[in-house]
Amino acid sequence: MQRYILTRIFYSFISLILLSITIFGLVRISGDPVILMADPGAKEEDLQALRVEFGLDKPIYVQYGVWISKLVRGDFGKSLYYRVPALELYMSRLPASILLMAVAMTIATLVGIPIGIFAAVRVNTWLDSFGNVFANLGLALPSFFIGLTLMLVLSVDLNLLPSSGSGTIKHIIMPAIALGWVLMASNMRLARSAMLEVLGSEYVKLARIKGLSERLVILKHAFKNALIPVLTFASIQVVLLMNGTVVVESIFAWPGIGRLLVEGINFRDFPIVQTTVLLTGLTIVGVNLLVDILYAYIDPRIHYGQ
């Protein structure tokens, strides 16, 4: 198991490096990078000073080195619009997003997985078909559509919930549902197919042959095995969450990093954009690593090595 974990850490590290190279490369491709990092109305001397600071006159790997060393020290540049260090800005908005994502994920898991498992147990009944339709819709509809619909119905027509801002539980319900929607649909699909596969397996057959009650068969033998692919999905979930959060926060004016990103692009504030993307990528790599390590504890095949 040790070796497994170490290998995973190593790969995560490589991913991070590749991520940084990608972002670095993209910025360089665009032409003159200082234009991105400087104020719109900057004078030529300021631009020149920035060029020296970023080492643009030096070879490319030196530039990369300069850039990376800045990142490691926490210098992600300064927001052109807000005039504070980008990292600071990101960190101040992060808690709001984490809260929103946590609630969304909870809803999605608590609703999606049981429905999926249930649909598998009652396969081909009306419950299964209903769940199927639900899942298809969830995957086909863009999250902003869900958000707008929720807003229209719950906020405008029924006047139950506030349509924007944050602060109370009422504020978080709609954004969390809108965000969790796609996850719910995917969770349901995945839980269902994982469960179906397990239910058809030989060891479940043997469990029934042993005379175990149906409840025991499902909860003990089937469920735990079905959880493994669902856990894999957890890493993809985080990606979907991050994706959705950008849109949902914009619609509901939720003060998180998603909204920050949109502000960044609309205000042409590149440091914010770069910071958000970099740190999001970092988070995702981190979560993937955690899930991999979790596997090692759950699946004895990995735990004890092959």
Binding site: I29, S30, I35, S143, L148, L152, V156, R268, T280
Partner: protein, 310 residues
């Protein structure tokens, strides 16, 4: 029980094929195709192509005195603007009609770009192997880990301030192509890896064919099927992505009538009761995406002879 091969033309009677008209054979092959989805997509293409003839008004220029008119079936609505007008007095119906053109062009172009890049790189990666494979796979893994929207925004930011200026529509195509090619590369590479072991490929190698020739004549036609299936499944995803980006203001730029953009512009109007500005474009998106997905699903089963037997 009929045990004739799956590709037998319809109307095989006791093993002897009867001569059937072409249309009947086509109809039989298409049996099971989701007709509604096909219809919706056909309508989309039709609208996009004949937009100039179908749209009653100019989609980009409006009359401010006529703004916020509701659709014809509500009070205060009129037949002149069947679906109402937006905040700039522009006819919503015309904008939706022209918007179909944008959705179609961007979706098809983006899928093509992503598909070509992805298939090529997947092909190279799978066939040549070694360091090329390692590099491409690591990049794919990393890019797949990035959320598409975030990546797209980063690209948009970069392109925004870049030294070469491209019209916004093609910006989006490039961005979407760059974001989505990784999915193709993965799948194609997997297929190529298994195809490499097939005897006819080995034979070609022994016969001395150059690598390029083998890839082109032997492997590519075989992976083309998977690529097309993936492409059809991706169209829905790409349309949603484009709509989302336009919604965020990162996609197609105003005054072009992209559906996502319309939804975004209409958001403010939701609170004051002007529901048709956001809801109608969203409905269009939803219909098209559902149609594309169901068609993609059907196509996947149809084109895979194994699955079809079920």
């Amino acid at each position: 029980m009929d045990s004739s091969p799956v590709m037998a033309p319809a109307g095989t009677f006791a093993g002897q094929p009867t001569v059937l008209s072409l249309s009947r054979r086509v109809a039989a092959k298409l049996r099971g195709a989701p007709l509604i989805s096909l219809g919706i997509l056909a309508l989309l293409v039709f609208t996009a192509v004949f937009a100039d003839f179908l749209a009653p008004h100019n989609p980009e220029v409006g009359n401010l005195r006529l703004r916020y008119r509701p659709p014809a079936w509500e009070t205060r609505g009129s037949a002149e603007f069947i679906l109402g007008t937006d905040h700039m007095g522009r006819d919503v119906l015309s904008r939706i009609i022209y918007g179909s053109r944008i959705s179609l062009i961007v979706a098809v172009a983006a899928v093509l770009v992503a598909g070509i890049i992805g298939t090529t790189l997947g092909l190279l990666s799978g066939y040549i192997g070694r360091w090329v494979d390692q590099v491409i796979m690591r990049v794919t893994d990393t890019w797949l880990a990035l959320p598409p929207v975030l990546f797209a925004i980063l690209l948009a930011a970069v392109l925004q301030s870049s030294t070469w200026k491209i019209p916004s529509k093609w910006n989006i195509v490039i961005i979407l192509g760059v974001v989505f090619w990784t999915r193709y590369a993965r799948v194609i590479r997997g297929e190529v890896l298994s195809l490499k072991e097939r005897d006819y490929v080995r034979l070609a190698i022994v016969a001395g064919c150059s690598r390029l020739k083998i890839m082109w004549t032997h492997i590519l036609p075989n992976v083309a099927n998977s690529a097309v299936v993936l492409a059809t499944l991706q169209i829905g995803v790409v349309i949603v992505a484009e709509a989302t980006l336009s919604f965020l203001g990162v996609g197609v730029a105003p005054p072009e009538p992209a559906w996502g953009l319309m939804a975004s512009e209409g958001k403010a109007g939701l609170m004051t009761g002007y529901w048709w500005l956001s809801v109608l474009p969203c409905l269009c998106i939803m219909l098209v995406v559902l149609a594309a997905s169901s068609l993609g699903d059907w196509f996947r089963v149809w084109s895979d002879p194994q699955l079809r037997q079920l």
